[in-house]
Amino acid sequence: MSLIRNIQREARFVGANRTTLAACLALAIMCLLAIVLGQAEISRQNDTLERTLSQSRVELGEVFDAATDYGGAAYSGFSLTYNAPAEAAFLAIGQRDLSPWMLRIRALALEGQIHESDNFNPELSLAGRFDYAFVIAFVLPLFIIVLLYDVYAAERDAGRVAMLTATAARPGRVWLARVLVLASGAALACLLPLWLLGLVFGAGAGNLLSVTAVVLANVVFWTLVTCALAFGRWAASVNAAVLTGIWLVLALLVPLAGKIMIDRTVPGVDGARISLLQRETVNGAWDLPKAATMEPFYASHPEWAHSAPIDEPFHWKWYYAFQQMGDEAAEPLSRAYREAIRERDALTGQVAWLSPPVAVLRAIQNIAETDMASALEYEMRIRDYHAQIRHFFYPLLFEEVPFERKNLEGFPVFSAR
């Protein structure tokens, strides 16, 4: 008898079991809820972004209109940078409730601005978000365990194994089909809401396919683990207890052990160091002769070396030069900080090999572009944009162009990806 016929029969068989159906339904509802709540969060973020963008534009216009010199305009002219949610961001909020996804910056030293955090409610961050990635990584395994832990033991305890074997001739196929049907039930409970709402919320078929692959891989892994025990000789309750223990270790204890390990191997650069150093350099410049700032600045920016010498105690071009030098002084530390974050992220990736739930979270966050890499990429885009702002003002400042409002028209706009 073909496997397909076996599967059809087992599907009808499993479908008649109300408890199994209820479990799959509960899982599907959880997925739906997670996606809806995720989408609510992301659309809130999108609304906020839209609102803030227009407010910020108006505000910048006001500042430029009121400006009397370029230095002043650059000083008060904040402009908005943002990390707009990707198509599939609602599947995994990821870093979006920990790392800032909007930041206003101006032409001053960037290291003093870029490490600002948002005002996230820490009690919300503490709980973490109920998003699709969470359901798949942590809840789905529990459902698979519940559906499959007694797939064999129940038959054995009921004394039906011999009868099944005698009736089915090739019982291996029956078990295979039954496990396949149960695992597919769990998979479908996760995938139907994903595709249904995913398409409605515009996640893009490519992303949905990738997430589907992650879901299926997760289902296969936990099905194999569960079956390895379920077809053993242990009692059903022992199987369930051991499987729960395995879940506990893989989902909770391995990640925490990994965290301790990472804290020890890559202690991380204390961020506070960067801003302290940057502040000392920037403020120290006030007390130094102008040449101490301008000479190294012209050395690294020869294109402005021809600029007129500074006689006054204060000149904007000197002011922005030492802002730039402050950033350059903090650069090695700042780079080390980013490297440390990257390295910690890479180590987290290695921990993921030992903890499938972590791997699933990372994979879905990667697809949703809400992972650490995306947060760092946003940081790099802020840096690029800040350089653009600087280079917009430098010609005006160093060529000492007389102030005209229209010269501010070409102010660079932050490009969303």
């Binding site: 109920f130 309750s237 223990g245 990994g258 105690p313």
Partner: protein, 480 residues
């Protein structure tokens, strides 16, 4: 009573002879030991680092050379939050909040450099701490340890045998609960030791520490009773286990997240960026205090001239620029504080909604009770932000006062174009010695206890419910 002890001893014997149970007990104790050690070690090093940074920042500020006062307003100062003493037990929201704030003129900054973002996927279900081990992991391990306790006797038919021998059903059920409870007690022993040690080191923390312990003890007690009840009601061991795991996952893993999402959806909060823009807009009305001719300060100028009985700002006995700085900072701070107060109120409303979910999840009850008592919750984070703001305002106004009194208006006005005037606007570095130490103290113990009280009541109700249930079950088990 002896019957209860006999049953409990029997259950202990069973646990010690079962490989699974022994593994679980060892795992539980090891986990708590590791969590306590790692948490204590991290906290000590963190405290030392932040303390050192704080002293260093203060020393740096005080050693600044002679400068124009407004330069010091922009030079600013850093404050670092040292963890609360009870953070060893329950770090609460600490990993999710910034650890330092830059204090400068004209701006109320946010706390920067939160720890959590760097390895966030690893800590999504909790951070390593004794509180996490007891609140999340211990109940699950107790479930694995105790789900068979009563139902096993029923499945093997020994239940009837025991009752036929005259063992009261009550003693049977309570004896099983006592056995599981003793493992729970063993697991919470390190917490008790920690609490006592902390109470000796920080006598003011004794009461909150005791409440933290009482909360965890109540919580574990609830689970012990619930596990026994479910085991006594179930007809099969596996259905007992599945029921308990579902209850655990729903209350411990799902509910906190659903609560957070509901809170975020029900009470929307403004992002920092939005607030910054609004503050900037309102500040335009206040006026730019760098520019004494800003229309925002026109009426202030009239008021000052009238007060001193002079016609021109040049004739004032004090530096008008300094006065504008003082006025601008005062008005600006009022604006910023208003937004901050709104944000804090919003966040507290969100926290209140999460608190309400404690009615549906004993985990939320104990988690919030513990961090409220420990002083590692949102309220104390906001308190830190407010304390930093108070320090900022005081410092900036101190410097602005120096600006008004110690710098001549004429020099101040010419300082951007005339070197000699600029030199004369620099005031002695001695003024920077006036910087006050930043000493942030968590909420007083009494306030924390008050905040934790409602959660304590909810937790007590959970325990009460479990007690009522187990009495009923004990009676029913006898009838069967």
């Amino acid at each position: 009573m002896t019957a209860i002890l006999h049953i409990a001893r029997g259950e202990w014997q069973h646990m010690l002879r079962t490989r699974l149970a022994v593994t679980i007990i060892v795992m539980l104790l090891a986990l708590i030991a590791v969590a306590a050690a790692s948490s204590a070690q991290q906290l000590v090093s963190e405290s030392q680092t932040r303390e050192a940074y704080q002293r260093e920042a203060e020393a740096t500020f005080r050693s600044q050379p002679a400068r124009h006062p407004h330069r010091m307003v922009h030079y600013g100062h850093y404050v670092f939050r040292t963890p609360a003493p009870l953070a060893v037990i329950d770090p609460g929201v600490d990993p999710f909040t910034g650890r330092s704030i830059f204090l400068e003129g004209h701006r109320r900054n946010t706390a920067a450099f939160a720890e959590a973002r760097e390895t966030s996927v690893l800590t999504r279900l909790g951070v390593v701490s004794p509180a996490f081990a007891l609140q999340v992991v211990a109940p699950l391990l107790l479930i694995l340890l105790g789900f068979t306790s009563v139902v096993r006797e029923r499945e093997r038919g020994t239940l009837l045998q025991l009752i036929a021998q005259g063992v009261p059903a009550r003693a049977l059920v309570l004896g099983k609960a006592a056995a599981i409870g003793s493992v729970a007690a063993l697991a919470s022993l390190p917490l008790l030791i920690g609490v006592m040690w902390l109470s000796i080191r920080h006598p003011t923390e004794a009461l909150p520490a005791l409440l933290v312990f009482a909360g965890h003890a109540t919580y574990l007690g609830f689970w012990v009773l619930l596990i026994t009840v479910v085991s006594a009601l179930a007809s099969k061991a596996r259905s007992a286990l599945i029921t308990l795991i579902i209850v655990w996952a729903a209350t411990t893993i799902l509910m906190p997240r659903i609560a957070a999402d509901v809170a975020a959806t029900a009470v929307t909060s403004q992002t920092q960026t939005e607030m910054d823009i609004l503050v900037q807009r309102d500040m335009r009305v206040v006026g730019d205090s760098h520019n004494i001719n800003d229309p925002g300060f026109r009426s202030f100028q009239d008021q000052v001239l009238e007060e001193y009985g002079v016609d021109r700002i040049e004739d004032l006995p004090v530096n008008y620029r300094g006065l504008v700085s003082l006025q601008g900072e005062a008005e600006g701070s009022a604006v910023m504080n208003q937004y901050a107060a709104e944000l804090h109120a919003t966040q507290r409303r969100q926290a209140t909604i999460i608190n309400l979910f404690a009615i549906a999840s004993p985990y939320l009850a104990v988690r919030n009770l513990s961090m409220r008592s420990a002083g590692t919750d949102l309220i104390n984070h906001q308190r830190f932000l407010d304390a930093a703001e108070a320090q900022r305002f005081e410092l900036i106004q101190q410097i602005n006062t120096v600006h008004a009194n110690e710098v001549l208006f004429a020099d101040d006005s010419a300082r951007s174009v005339d070197h000699e005037s600029e030199q004369r606007t620099r005031v002695s570095g001695d003024f920077w010695h006036r910087l006050q130490d930043f000493n942030f103290t968590p909420q007083p113990a009494s306030d924390r206890l008050l905040a934790a009280l409602p959660l304590g009541v909810v937790l007590a109700l959970w325990l009460l419910a479990a007690t009522v249930l187990i009495r009923r079950v004990a009676r029913k088990a006898g009838e069967a």
